[in-house]
Amino acid sequence: MSTAMNFGNKSFQPRPPDKGSFPLDHFGECRSFKDKFMRCLRENRFENAACRLESREYLRCRMDRRLMAQEPLEKLGFGDLEDGKAEAQRSAE
């Protein structure tokens, strides 16, 4: 929130998140996934592109434990990962 009283400048207007708020993980059910993600980030110099699989796993864990609304992962921007995994499996075989 901008506390400056200058009306000439643009002020920041916070917007609510698109899908609302994450329920708190009081019991740490997805902590292992989070630790995996953080470890991946540290190893890859905090590049998000390298750790997208781990972040997808974390969100999937949340959905399974009902800590997040169920939603197809393509809608959360992981569509390319689904195709990539299928392609990698095909190329490996």
Partner: protein, 272 residues
């Protein structure tokens, strides 16, 4: 009494608004008035008749208009005064109605503006609304790497330990990213906190979209509890096409936690 007034009104109608000819009218008016006075004393209340005869010097009070004392005894000017009084009353009514209308409009403006903002989307988001379809179809702009740093603040009255779990993360526009904050309640009482966020630079803030986070809703931490708070966000791909954002390589996301008091309702963001 109406019949007595008719000749007087006939004169008024003929003369019209040209009161400069009042001189000619006045002598006829005086004659009519004398006639009328006699008529009043006869048909009116005995007291007024007595008053006239005794000549107290007071003017007669017209029946049916208590407290209203016309300033002249001339029936034409009296009629004019009545007319003016009536016009003044209507003008006053209109002015009062306009004042009340303005007051009501100023009160009604608040919900009406809110409705207008909701329908047109102005005053809140500067970019067009994002549906989940857009997230599905957006293509990451791989050549534009942006560093997002994280900052965590806590209001003085809130005793939580709140900090980000990574200092920075490198993302590209169009790619969804996950980041974590950690909050611990070291006290022995459950504490409810509520947070808001800020994005610097302000112009880049309009491209910073949060899919899901932990802000603007009350979060309750039990005594000695520590939780991970994720933020799932992306930067709009249109960021790469904005000429004002050419030099922006660093975006700072800053969260601030406040203590939520019971029964305290925070305003919905976007209407400030």
């Amino acid at each position: 009494m109406g019949g007595l007034w008719r000749p007087a009104w006939g004169c008024v109608a003929l003369c019209g608004p040209r009161w400069s000819r009042a001189g000619r009218v006045l002598w006829a008016a005086d004659r009519a008035e004398a006639f009328l006075r006699r008529a009043w004393s006869g048909t009116g209340s005995a007291e007024t008749g007595l008053r006239w005869r005794h000549g107290t010097g007071k003017r007669p009070i017209l029946a049916g208009q208590p407290g209203r004392r016309p300033k002249s005894t001339n029936p034409f000017t009296r009629a004019q005064e009545e007319d003016w009084r009536r016009r003044n009353k209507t003008v006053l009514t209109y002015v009062a109605a306009a004042a009340v209308g303005m007051l009501g409009a100023s009160y009604a403006a608040v919900p009406l503006y809110r409705l207008y903002c909701q329908t047109t989307g102005l005053g809140g988001s500067a970019v067009a609304g994002h549906g989940s379809d857009q997230i599905e179809n957006m293509v990451p702009v791989k050549d534009r790497i942006i560093k997002v740093t994280f900052n965590a603040d806590v209001h003085a009255s809130l005793q939580w330990n709140f900090r980000p779990q990574q200092t920075e993360i490198y993302v590209v526009p169009g790619e969804t990213a996950l980041a974590f904050y950690k909050a611990k309640n070291p006290t022995d009482k459950p504490v409810i906190g509520i947070s808001t966020y800020n994005v610097v630079p302000f112009e880049a803030g309009q491209y910073f979209n949060k899919i899901q986070c932990f802000c603007f809703e009350e979060q309750r931490l039990n005594p000695q509890e520590e939780v991970d708070m994720p933020v799932f966000f992306y930067i709009d791909p249109e960021f790469a096409e904005d000429p004002r954002m050419v030099n922006v390589d660093l975006i700072t996301l800053s969260y601030t936690f406040f203590e939520a008091k019971e029964g305290h309702k925070l305003p919905i963001p976007g209407y400030n």
